[in-house]
Each structure stands twice: as C-alpha cells, then as structure tokens.
Amino acid sequence: MTEALLLDVRDVSVTFDGFRAINSLSLALKPGEMRAIVGPNGAGKTTMMDIITGKTRPDSGTATFKGHDLTRLDEPAIARLGIGRKFQKPTVFEALTVTENLLLSLKGIRSPFAVLFARQSSRERARLAELLSLTRLENVANSTAGDMSHGQKQWLEIGMLMGQEPDLLLVDEPVAGMTDAETMATADLLREINKTRSVVVVEHDMDFVRALGVPVTVLHEGSVLAEGTLDDVSADPRVIEVYLGR
C-alpha cells in the first residue's frame, strides 16, 4: 500500500442474537475522501457506524483509524482520536444554551477536573464566534437549545461536530425530513466540510447522493454489494435487484 489509509475496516462481522448484522464487511477511506453509503433498511449501515465509533464491538475482523485499533477503544477514546458522529435525529443538550452546547464540543479539555477549573480562553471565544456564524445561530446564541426549531438543532449539531475538529465525520441520514432546498444546502455544506476533513455519509436519498458527487458504497445484508460512482452502481444488476426487489 503506497498511501496510508485514514480508516481501514476489514472483514468485520457482527452477530446480534444469531442475526448477522454485518458479514465480513470491508471499507477503506483515504485522508480527505468523502464516501456515501447507501443500502436498504437492515443493510447494516448504522451498525457499521457503531463499530467505527466504538459503540459495538465486532465479533471478528479489524478496524483501524490513523493506525489505532478501534476495536480496543471505547466511544470517548475514539471521539478524542478525531472521529465525529452526527446522528440521524438531532441530539443537542436541550437544557443548555447554544453557546454552552458549542463550548462543550470544542476540541481540547475533556478530563472532569480540567473541565471543573476551565476558564474560557480567547482562542475558545474566537472559535465560538466562528461556529456561531457558520451555523447562522448568532441571534440565538444565548437561547436554550431546547427552544429551537428542528432545522436549527440540526445546524447546531453540525456546529458541535465542527467544534470537535474531527478528521473523519460520520453523518447519518442528514437530510431525513428536509425540504429539497435544504437537502441541496446540506450537500453544499458537506462538500465544504470535505475540503478539510474526510466524510462518510449514510443516506437513502439518491438525489442527495447524486448532488454530493462522490464514490458510493452499496451495502446489502451486512456486506458490500458494489462500490463505484453512482452511475456505475445504479447500472449494476445486483444493486437494481436489491433496490427494486424484482
């Protein structure tokens, strides 16, 4: 291998109560790459994300990120390594203000004692201002996150992801429940983010995947069915079979 891989998942299998959620799945991502993962319900997309973020331990296979073995680390350790995850349903801390949410996400202090005595640094203040303007939430900076609209929460969560400064972003169905205009705006945002970071997007919406214009991996029954450009994989008879259920 000439170029070091950022993320390297190999021959991973997971079984839940006898059900093979993931079946010798492999996925490799180079630094700076963006990849779309598609597949019908139950194809193992979310389980794959769970393995990468340490929520689920694989029964067999390896998963490495920047050379670190992900299967031996827990969620906080993996998050600190530089993998950020955006959930399908926006999960922000509703009792805190927008600024407080962002402040907690900022890369840096993580140990409880350090957090207890942390004072807001000028670097953090600058970073907060930057994130507030990126997410267009300046006007609600001191409002409680729980009082905001669905769309604002989505943007806040994206802001929190950026605050973590991850090298790899895992984004789960970012456009579920969005209008067409919002879907396209989100595609633009992800492409913008991809200029500095690697991104893996799980999505059902084919228009959105087309708008991203990135290589696509099709999952089916826990393993990779096809990989390539969207046009290539949509022409693949096996993919058509799975999607159209002929």
Partner: protein, 379 residues
C-alpha cells in the same frame, strides 16, 4: 439580544443570597441563645439545637440536589453517607467521654465494656484525636461513594436500577450497624456525649458555636456547589444528565463526571451528618433507614430540584412542618409528607423555587428568531 435571554438559565444568583441568609440566621439565633433568659429575644436550647438539626439536614438535601438535580442520579440512599459522617463524629465524641462513662473505663466506650471487650477494635484507633476523626468523616464516605460509584457508573447502571441499589446500600449499612459485633454500639448507637474539643456540649456557648459552625458549613457548601454547577463542569453535568450517550461521542467520559460529583456529594452529606450528631447528641442505625433517604429526596422535590437554594429551603420547611405536625398529630405526619410529595409533583414540578422563576416556554420575549425561515423549513 433581549435582556431575558442574556441571563443564563443557570446563573444561581439566589444561591449567594441563600448562603448569606443561612449564615445570618445561624448567627442571630446563636447570639439570641446567649442572651439572659429574662430577655424577650432569648432563644432556648431547644430552638438552637432544632435549628442546627435543620441546617444539617439542609446539607444532606443540598448533596442530594447536586447529584439528582444536576447529574440525574436519583439517589435513594444518601442518608448512608450522612450516617457514616455522623458515626465518625460519634466515635470521637465517645472517646471524649473518657472515664466519665457509666463504667468509668478511660479507654473503652461503655458499650464495649458492656460487651466485655478487652481492647478497642483497630478501626477505633486514633479516633480520640479530633483531626483524625474529621478525616474519617470525609474519607470513609468518599471511599464508599468512590467504590460504589465506580462500579455502578462504569457498568452504566442508571435510572431506577441505580436508585434501587443506593437503597440497598443504605439498608445493608443499617443492618450492619445494628450488629453489636460491628463495634458501633448496635441498636443503641453512640450517645451520652459529654464534650467536644474540651467544651461542654450542653453549655449554651458550645451549642451556639456549633450552630454557627453548621451555618458556616452550609453556606460554604452552597457556594462550593454553586461554583461546580455554574462552571463548565456544571454544563457537562447537565449534558450527562440529559443525554449521557451524546457526551461519549463528544469524547467525555460520563462515568468519571458522575463519579466526581457523586463523591463530592457524599462528602457534603457526611459533613452534615457529623454536625448533626454534635447537636442532636445521638447517632444510631436508624439514621440509615431507607425512609430517611427518601425523605431527603422529598425535601429537594418540594424546594425545587436543580436549584441548590430550593434544597435548603425544602429541607428547612419540611422539617419545620414535621416538628409542628409530630407535636400536634404524630400519626398523620407520614400521610402529610406523602400528600406533600404528590401535590408537589402534580402542581409544583419545579418546587417552591419554581414559583418565582418564569417558565421559559411561555415567555413572549423568548421566541427564537427565524433563522431557518429563508430555507422554508418550519414544521
């Protein structure tokens, strides 16, 4: 930006007021108790020890609020730490009795002579030194809380399961302390104390000093708790309380966060217990009764969970009510307490403190600007 939204929902200015009032009340009562009995402002020994008891209970309530209100740990066993602190102080007070006990043994407390023990158990060593006993007050509950919390939080035990094991913890301690062989006076506990640091515990001046000491301890605890919840750590606690999993994906370890506040809270409760014993004059296994822990949760609920001041207010008011009620209609106190809890839950979900805190949802000033409107999104 409107003025309302600038004010953080959790600035806890009321806590400073509460700390000041508590301290002031303690000092005023202490001074009043030292006035000659003929003076109309004289406060009796009964009133002073009652006030001291309320303030000690308020420390227990504060410690419960810290973990329940901010970390979401509904503890039903916090009286365990209160009791342990009380027993550690009790050990010192027993040793202070010396040869003045009923059996006149200079070295052994009465109950050990009664059980015909020949020497002190190892864990009583050094308890004749005030400083060592005070260290035990802090360290023993902290160690127990540390081990218990480490096991529970690491295994991700939470919610009602955690509540049940905290209840089991205090129940197990109660059973253990009931044993004569355990070395803490069994059923009778530790009592008949004579003096503390050489000062007569029954002298008005000592009682006044203890009340002021309790006031200072409570005020200091309030300010320390305010520092914790008002800091970034407080935001993290609330984040852990509301969405523990999400904090993991941000790189935080919620088990450590909870453990830190849990241990601190146990130490606060223990200091409350130690001060309680000096003023009530007895500590027995009944303090570990599960009902006591549950009562402390009710104090917090009545005063207002997650407000700190509310915990103190609730503890003082409910206990004042208990003092009155048990004098008039002793049989009905528990019904009254139950009714109070139900009414609070139904009509005052934010407790007494919720009465003068604006409900944010209905505040017309607080409508969020239409940031996402240009994109056409609004459900």
């Amino acid at each position: 930006m409107n003025a309302f939204s600038c004010q953080s929902a959790r600035s806890f200015k009321s806590v400073i007021w509460t700390a000041g009032l508590v301290l002031l009340a303690a000092i005023v009562l202490a001074v009043a108790s030292l006035l000659p009995e003929s003076s109309p402002l004289h406060a009796s020994a009964f009133v002073v020890s009652l006030a001291g008891k309320y303030l000690a209970y308020a420390m227990l309530a504060l410690s419960v609020d810290l973990v329940w209100g901010f970390a979401g740990i509904l503890t039903l066993g916090h009286a365990a730490f209160f009791g342990l602190g009380g027993y550690a102080m009790g050990m010192y007070l027993m040793r202070e009795i010396g040869a003045r006990g009923a059996y006149g043994d200079a070295n052994l407390p009465d109950f050990m002579v009664f059980l015909s023990w020949k020497s002190l158990p190892w864990y009583w060593c050094g308890t004749d030194h005030f400083a060592w006993a005070m260290m035990l007050v802090l360290v023993v509950p902290a160690l127990l809380a540390g081990v218990f919390g480490w096991l529970a939080f690491r295994s991700r035990v939470s919610g009602v399961y955690l509540s049940i094991i905290t209840q089991a913890l205090t129940y197990a301690l109660m059973l253990a302390f009931f044993q004569n062989g355990f070395g803490f006076g069994g059923n009778n506990g530790l009592t008949d104390f004579k003096d503390i640091l050489g000062a007569d515990l029954h002298a008005p001046a000592t009682r006044a000093a203890l009340l002021v000491a309790t006031g200072i301890a409570l005020a200091a605890s309030l300010l320390a708790a305010r520092f914790i919840v008002g800091s970034r750590f407080g935001n993290l606690l609330v984040a852990v309380r509301d969405s523990e999993n999400r904090t993991r994906f941000l790189g935080y370890r919620p088990d450590q966060v909870k453990l830190l506040v849990w241990i601190f809270s146990a130490m606060l409760a223990a200091v409350g217990g130690a001060l309680y014993v000096t003023q009530v004059g007895i500590i027995n296994p009944g303090e570990f009764a599960p009902a006591n822990s549950i009562e402390s949760v009710i104090w917090v609920a009545v005063g207002g969970r997650g407000t700190l001041s509310g915990a103190v207010l609730g503890a003082i008011l409910v206990n004042f009510g208990k003092t009155l009620f048990t004098a008039w209609l002793p049989e009905f106190w528990l019904y009254g307490l139950g009714l109070l809890f139900i009414c609070t839950t139904l009509f005052l979900p934010n407790g007494i403190m919720g009465l003068w805190r604006p409900t944010r949802k209905n505040d017309p000033e607080d409508i969020t600007p239409e940031v996402s409107a240009p994109e056409g999104e609004h459900p």
